[in-house]
Each structure stands twice: as C-alpha cells, then as structure tokens.
Subunit: 175 residues, 2 copies
Amino acid sequence: MKTRPATEYALLGALRSGSKHGYEILQFFEACLGSTWYVSTSQLYALLKRLEGRGWLRSFVEVQETRPSRRVFSLTSKGKKAFDQWLFSPTEHVRDLRVEFLAKLFFIKDLGMEGGQELVQSQIGVLGTLKESLAQRRRQTREEFHALMLDARIANIASWITWMKTKAEAFMSDA
Amino acid sequence: MKTRPATEYALLGALRSGSKHGYEILQFFEACLGSTWYVSTSQLYALLKRLEGRGWLRSFVEVQETRPSRRVFSLTSKGKKAFDQWLFSPTEHVRDLRVEFLAKLFFIKDLGMEGGQELVQSQIGVLGTLKESLAQRRRQTREEFHALMLDARIANIASWITWMKTKAEAFMSDA
DNA sequence: GGATTCATGTAAGAGGTTACATGATTAT
DNA sequence: ATAATCATGTAACCTCTTACATGAATCC
C-alpha cells in the first residue's frame, strides 16, 4: 500500500474539531503548527479539492454580505476514519518524526483524545527495532564509510528515543 | 542565491577522478554511495544533460564494436570549480547532513583531498551556532508544543555534533 | 533458452514551490 | 492614502519517481 502525503492528514486534523473554510484552516495552521509545518495557500486549496474528490471531505458555499463568499469544509465519516487511523500509527521513517509525528502529538492533545501515551510507546518500539537492526549491520560491516553512515543513523535514532522518553511522554501525560 | 540540488554535485564528484559514461557513474554510485544515496537512471541521464547545458560537463560519443556506443562525460574547469566550492562548504540545514554532508566526506577521502578536518570543524561551528540560537528560543518560549519541537531539534543537533567529534573526525584523520 | 549485463533514454505523474490575479473591506 | 485582512484560486515550473522501450552480448 502506498501512503498518502502527510499534509493531507494535517488538513483533516484541522477539521477534526469542526468545519472550517480554507482561509480559516490556513490561520489554524499558522497559529498551531506554524513553527513546524508550512502549507502554502495554493497547495491548501488543491488538497482540499483532492480530499473532497476522494470523499473524505464535503463542502458548501457560504455567502456573506460584506465579505467574499467562502467554501466551508467538514469531515465525512470516511475522512474521520482515515484521520484517526493515521493519528495513532507511529511513523515508519525517522525523517518523518520531526514534522509528522510531532503533529500527531499536537492533534491528540489539542483534540483531547486518549491514546497519546500508547502512540509514544509504539513509536519507541518502532525506533528500538530499527536501531537494533542497524546496530547489527554495523557490527557486520568492515567498510569504513558504511560504518560512518550507520553510526550517524544509530546516534540519531538514540537521540529520538531519549526525547520520546523524556519529553514526549511528559507532554502527553500532563493535562 | 539559490542552491542547486545536491545530486548534481554528486555527479560532478563521480567525474572528479576522471571521465565516465552514464552507466559507469551509476555503478560508481551504487558501489560507493549506494547505502546513502540513490539516483535513478532516468534522473541520472536528465541531470547529465542539464549539467552539460550549463557548461559544467562536456561529452563525446564513444563508438564500440560489440557493445552499444556510449557518451563519455568529463568535468570542465567551471564544473570542477563548482564542485570544489560545494565540497568544502558545510551544509546549512540539518536535514542535509545525512546524505549530502556524508557524501562530501566520502569524496574528500576518495579523492585524497586536503581540508577534510577543516570541513568537519566548520560544520561543527555551523551546528553549534544553530543549536545556540534554538536554545535561546527555547528559553523564551512558554508554549508547550513549541518547546517540545525545539527540544527535539536541539537534541538532534547535539547528537550530530557528538558524531562529528567522535566519528567524522576519526574518519577524516586516518589514511 | 532465459536471465543478466551493457547502455541509453522517453513519458507520465506525484507532490510541491513561487509568482500572479482578483477585489472588497477595514484598520492606521 | 495605503497597508493589511479577508478569501479564493490559476499557471508555470522544479525535482524526482515509476513505468516503459530498445537491443545486442554474454553468462548459466
């Protein structure tokens, strides 16, 4: 199965707490995830269209008197399901931790959902397994450059595991 | 100024030690950087064309008797200059360390060039400065999620700095 | 006889970016 | 007056990916 781009799920997340129009989603992003995740306006509107076409969103036009009319989006049950499934899955790749995994933590907390601790635990599990398999390759390699690369990846994963155990757990545990 | 994609420089690097044809570059990549850096054949040929158009490469067709003819590429002086300039510059972004910076170390060693120690030192400098500025932002923020994100980035940079000082320096110092 | 190696490419598409276009309203 | 806010989009482009196309030679 091919995974969908994470930005799609972030949009679903913005709508998880209630319907919003495009511009409002943009503001939500900037305010809440702005330091981590940037979405350009053109991409936003393109993604909203795509997600509606897939049946994860529905929308209607809201006409306003003094302001330009706007299209209000809300999650369908399919969209809600897709989002929740994404939300509680650990990321496969280390490179996705910084943006995608952090956003998951944000959404879980923001929406007041249960299961944050479990997500952190299962992400730790994934990282631990990966680290072990890299460590094994590391022990077997005689090639200097390959070893250098593996050392970097292993150290990087170790630092993420430490962060998970010290910071992410604390973030998810306090009200 | 806008930076060129790193893959371009990797191709220049493959030619730095002498001219090669496309297929040969591909093999070089797979053998030497295969664990870190993957380049697809279609991208390779597209990039070679682009680099020649820019005047960083030149090429001629070598006709063979029993094998299909092939196009042999070599660096121009402009290309050599561009490569060397890239080679000894630290990467700006942390995300480029794993692929791009590692490749620089590989090339410096592979080509037997001087200045590897200095590159590692200046990369450490860049990371140290970045870490300091993030640490300062960290001290000022009251926002929990923002703090969580900064903690992750800071820890990540710290792990890279440690790796630089323990592994990368050692890699560059031994013959 | 069938897979792998040698050797080069094209075409389509995914996912993203920047720049551009529009036009009213409200705040300074 | 002019800048920012509200609100939506299109068009062009960039990088890279996957799939497809070709065709002889050599290894098993």
